[in-house]
Symmetry: C2
Subunit: 229 residues, 2 copies
């Protein structure tokens, strides 16, 4: 109803795997639809593409419409085209992953959704359609990407401690990292700016805060330099 007037492309959809870092764990945003075919089941936010928007634009719009999430990092993952992945008719879907800092976005269900919540990535089995596969593929790509692009910072507040950053990397790649080696390596990239500011309200020694040097990163990318964690 909300879309039919907008000239949507009914056999092409976008599904988004939105990752967030909460409670020191990697979590994923799921929504509940008001209507069939997946009424009242948790699923990836998704929707059909409009005739006059690009795929990226569709992903951005869908995230805003279903859960009030805006202005985020987006990366196309894969296009899923199994013949019967959608029961009613043939629908091919382009999967994206998105990264946000959950603190910065208050989830609000949209016109077509009854709920939007964060779930631990390990507790999402049993989603409708091929959403389990999509999440899995997005997770694999996130693990790849995070080692070669500084996308980890998208999941953190602007100011963060090195321990935060390390915990984030650990929760994405699923391995423990050595504290001293991690710090050496991440500082050597030159992409972190130490601030004259420290954690507050903690009952132990306060850690120094850092921020990501976006300017320097853009220069590096332009000059084809690369880094690796």
């Amino acid at each position: 109803m909300s879309h039919t007037a907008k000239n949507l492309i009914s056999n092409l959809s976008v599904d988004c795997v939105v990752f967030g870092f909460r409670n020191n764990r990697l979590e994923v945003l799921l929504i509940k639809r008001k209507r069939n075919p997946i009424k009242e089941r948790w699923a990836l936010p998704g929707g059909f593409i409009l005739a006059d928007e690009t795929l990226d634009d569709a992903a951005i719009r869908i995230l805003e419409e279903t859960s009030n999430v805006k202005n985020i990092y987006l990366e196309q993952v894969h296009t899923f085209g199994a013949v019967n992945r959608f029961p009613a008719r043939r629908v091919v879907t382009v999967a994206y992953f998105a990264l946000i800092d959950p603190e910065k976005h208050s989830l609000k269900p949209g016109i077509d959704t009854t709920d939007a919540q964060w779930f631990n990535v390990t507790e999402t089995k049993g989603m409708p359609f091929d959403h389990d596969d999509i999440l899995n593929k997005a997770l694999i790509q996130l693990r790849q990407s995070v080692r070669f692009k500084p996308i980890g910072f998208e999941l953190l507040p602007i100011k963060f401690t090195l321990t935060h950053l390390q915990t984030l990397y650990e929760s994405i790649i699923g391995m423990h990292l050595d504290k001293r080696n991690f710090r050496k390596k991440i500082l050597k990239t030159g992409l972190l700016i130490p601030l004259e500011e420290f954690q507050k309200g903690v009952s132990h020694r306060a850690a120094q805060l850092y921020k990501f040097d976006l300017h320097k990163y853009k220069k590096l990318v332009k000059n084809d330099y690369s880094f690796q964690i």
Copy 2:
């Protein structure tokens, strides 16, 4: 005409970037269409998806139909959805890259194509639609993939010399490699089987032939081992 009876999905296509290694260079397969909108221009082989085939199947069929190329390595690259990428109407295309050994496939234009030929990757500028972008993206992904997956072997005959293999890697990543270091590294993967056979018909010392150990590779993949060139 050839397709309309087959229930095709008219807003979803597949385009294929077929790489081959010929004359010690990386080349790409282009075709010429009989009909508009790109009659008589060199372009990537592509076509619409049928209602009852997956995206991968569409890519396989299209390659066979347009140029008689069968049984090849395929990898999905990216889905291109700029609103006006196709002039007549909205068409989103899923791009694949494919790897073949040109010696193993004799190119034959299909029912809808007048010609199919190999081009050096640097000589393809000016293709219709967004095919230049697609080729570029495929090339970037090939360069990534070739370092982490043993896909280089897909481009060579079953039996090859280490110099062949090195030249192939060099032409893909666009850098000169040290001969001794390359050999050490590639042999250390354990994925090459030396044969008791040598080059023939060369007017200099004949090089030993090797083949790729597919069996061992499958075991490695299953056990999550990885390698890197």
